[in-house]
């Protein structure tokens, strides 16, 4: 609705009491890169990430190398009594998965119970993971299955949101369609403020942290 657009912008300008910004003023605004106060902390990034992430019922397990991931996933699967089937994001498909383990790269369908994905980064300040959608990392893997296992390398942990934004800005295709910052399992407090995990998204988010 072009008239609506014009009317709204016009009303805004008359309320502010000026015309559209001149080019120079607009360019100055576009060049603005604010530096807001960041949350200071002294702990090492890995420790901070683990402490904050697990404070919201996320779980973390540390392994020595990427090649240990299939065994960690298999142990998790057996511990939770899950079938030998998972949606595994393509970049991880080449790992030595057990022969009887059925896996596909997604998207995740309604009955998917387990997914294993990589991530773009982790942010230490509040203990969050950052995942980006793409052909090799469908968003449904992050939300549909009951159990979401995420492979994270220690070197992927950055300090603040601002550091994560730098990674986003460097993505080859520009901003990903969906960027999911995940800070634990799905939860709700909508019934009497009683926290209950697994409202709609994963009941369990388990990080396999590779040294």
């Amino acid at each position: 609705m072009p008239e609506a657009r014009k009317a709204i912008l016009g009303q805004i300008r008359s309320a502010i009491g000026r015309d559209a910004l001149a080019d120079a003023a607009a360019a100055a605004l576009d060049a603005r890169r604010p530096t807001h106060t960041r949350i200071a902390f002294e702990d090492a990034l890995v420790e901070r990430f683990i402490a904050r992430f697990t404070s919201r019922s996320g779980t973390v397990e540390r392994v020595a190398s990427l090649l240990d991931v299939p065994a960690a996933v298999e142990a998790y699967r057996q511990q939770h009594g899950l079938p030998a089937r998972a949606a595994i994001a393509r970049p991880l498909a080449g790992l030595p998965w057990p022969a009887d383990f059925a896996h596909h790269p997604g998207p995740a369908g309604k009955d998917e119970v387990l997914s294993v994905t990589a991530c773009l980064a982790a942010i230490a300040e509040m203990g969050s993971l950052m995942l980006a959608s793409g052909p090799d990392s469908p968003t449904t893997l992050n939300f549909v299955p009951d159990h979401h296992l995420i492979v994270l390398h220690e070197t992927q942990i950055v300090r603040h949101f601002e550091d994560a934004w730098a990674i986003l800005r460097a993505c080859p295709g520009g901003m990903p369609r969906a960027t999911n910052i995940v800070s634990g399992p799905s939860r709700t407090g909508d019934i009497e403020l009683t926290i209950q995990l697994g409202a709609h998204g994963p009941r369990s988010v388990h990080v396999i942290l590779v040294r």
Binding site: M1, A4, R5, I8, L9, Q11, R13, I16, L21, A26, L29, D30, R32, R33, P34, T35, H36, T37, I39, A40, R52, R56, G106, P107, K110, M126, S133, P135, P138, T139, T140, F143, V144, F161, E162, L168, R169, M175, P176, R177, A178, T179, N180, I181, S183, G184, S186, R187, T188, G189, D190, I191, E192, L193, T194, Q196, G198, A199, H200, G201
Partner: protein
């Protein structure tokens, strides 16, 4: 949404007389308040962050036209569509047109206060669409056919037992009695809906001018399932929700959850930038943003501009003694509590909302917790001043009579109001009088810490009398 603010006093009486409401409100709000205090205490930077958030919002409002244009260009570059809506009707018709064009049947919805503001569900349902709220709280009140009573905890007024009843009726038995079982039941029911949905509608906590991204901040993951699985994703958001850059988003992410639910962060923060890309295997095929003005641009540059800084965190209502006593429904429109007492008169008119700015003790707790430092008490005082200037007076004898009739026709309420009145008046050393002069005007704001009941009504004395 229909406005029932003129019935503020009547609704307050009902609220005060509802023990289940008081039980639900009491438990929940205490949780929010305590958790916020704890987290804020752990964060030495918090007050500084509030200053920066206030200043940033002011900067955005001073340059709102510019940032809106930049945002629109970025959304378009990412393959999305921006629609501008001057008012609620325009917003509804934009959304209805999209739904019609894509032949939608089922529409899922993440939580969005703007969608309540524009009365979207009623409009969609009137056209025969199946509309499913997927946020657990919103789902509960949708089943109860009620409006939200809190902006971030819409079903805060419901007890677990009431939710059990609603679910049993809606889903068929067996009746679930634990929170865990109730949540699981909703999870299973709604799971099918996400996969069926043609259109998924969400709100937008922030719109990023730099990247053209809309952001939702949630705990449940329902908004993400809604927007990922539907064929078309529609975002509804107020024009004031723009932030210039991702750096500015970081600032708000540091204060939003702490102020709102007393969490360090909500579970999910999702940035959506355009529709599914050519090689993507999931995600919506279309991505639309409806920018809703609906009176906001008129607040710019005036006495109430500060209100446009609101990030809808709910802290002001969590800390408001009046909201704590009567809950959100009495406010009669979409936005309750202190922020609602300012916004409702501005959006729907001073006349119909006389009581809202006056239902405030000016205790200042709301302002002291507002993350963007909105001077809520000052704005409420300003509204009172405007009412006075425009000759809008408290509802007179007519209203008093109306209120009396309303209460008198409901025997249990009448007895409660009488008991309340008797006690309050005893405390004040007065004499019992007409119901219309009771128990409000001055006494009702104190109802949270009512003096120990010593006064008895005639009926109570009669019933207690040994016979």
């Amino acid at each position: 949404m229909k406005v029932s603010s003129p019935q503020f006093k009547e609704k307050s009486v009902i609220a005060l007389a509802d023990p289940r409401l008081r039980q639900a409100l009491g438990q929940s709000r205490k949780g929010f308040v305590n958790k916020r205090a704890e987290l804020v205490g752990e964060l030495p930077e918090f007050e500084q962050l509030r200053d920066e958030a206030r200043d940033l919002k002011n900067h955005v409002l001073d340059n709102l036209d510019h940032y809106l244009e930049r945002y629109e260009a970025a959304v378009t570059a990412a393959g999305g569509h921006v629609h501008w809506a001057r008012d609620a009707e325009e917003a509804r018709s934009i959304i209805l047109n999209i739904c019609q064009r894509v032949n939608a049947k089922t529409i899922t919805k993440g939580k969005s206060m703007v969608s309540e503001e524009i009365g979207l569900n009623e409009a969609l349902e009137a056209k025969g669409y199946t509309v499913v709220e997927t946020d657990l709280g919103e789902y509960i009140i949708q089943l109860a056919h009620e409006p939200p009573s809190h902006i971030i905890a819409p079903a805060i007024h419901k007890t677990k037992e009431q939710v059990s009843e609603l679910f049993e009726t809606a889903h068929g038995g067996p009746r679930k009695s634990t929170v865990a079982d109730l949540v699981t039941e909703a999870r299973l029911v709604l799971r099918d809906k996400y996969f069926q949905a043609d259109v998924g509608i969400t709100g937008g906590n922030f719109l990023v001018a730099e990247t053209g991204s809309s952001i939702i901040v949630t705990n449940e993951g329902n908004g993400d399932l809604t927007q990922t699985l539907a064929k078309v994703h529609i975002v509804t958001s107020g024009i004031e929700r723009i932030v210039p850059t991702l750096e500015d988003v970081a600032l708000f992410l540091r204060i939003l959850a702490r102020s709102a639910t007393g969490q360090e962060t909500e579970t999910y923060t999702t940035l959506s930038t355009g529709p599914r890309r050519p090689d993507d295997v999931d995600g919506p095929e279309e991505y639309h943003v409806v920018l809703v003005d609906n009176g906001r641009s008129k607040m710019l540059g005036g006495k109430f501009q500060d209100m446009l800084r609101c990030i809808r965190c709910g802290a002001c209502m969590n800390h408001c003694p009046v909201y704590g006593a009567i809950g959100g429904h009495a406010y009669g429109w979409v936005y309750p509590g202190p922020m609602g007492a300012v916004l409702t008169p501005l959006f729907v008119g001073l006349d119909a909302t006389y009581d809202l700015p006056n239902a405030c003790t000016l205790n200042g707790r709301c302002e002291s917790v507002c993350p963007v430092r909105i001077p809520l008490p000052e704005l409420l005082r300003e509204l009172r001043h405007m009412q006075y200037q425009q000759g809008i007076r408290p509802p007179g004898e007519q209203r008093a009579l109306g209120a009396w009739r309303f209460v008198a026709e409901r025997p249990r309420l009448y007895q409660f109001a009488n008991r309340l009145a008797a006690r309050v008046l005893k405390g004040l050393g007065g004499r019992t009088g007409r119901i219309g002069s009771l128990p409000f005007a001055s006494a009702w704001t104190d109802s949270r810490d009512m003096p120990a009941p010593e006064g008895k009504t005639f009926l109570e004395l009669w019933q207690a009398k040994p016979r």
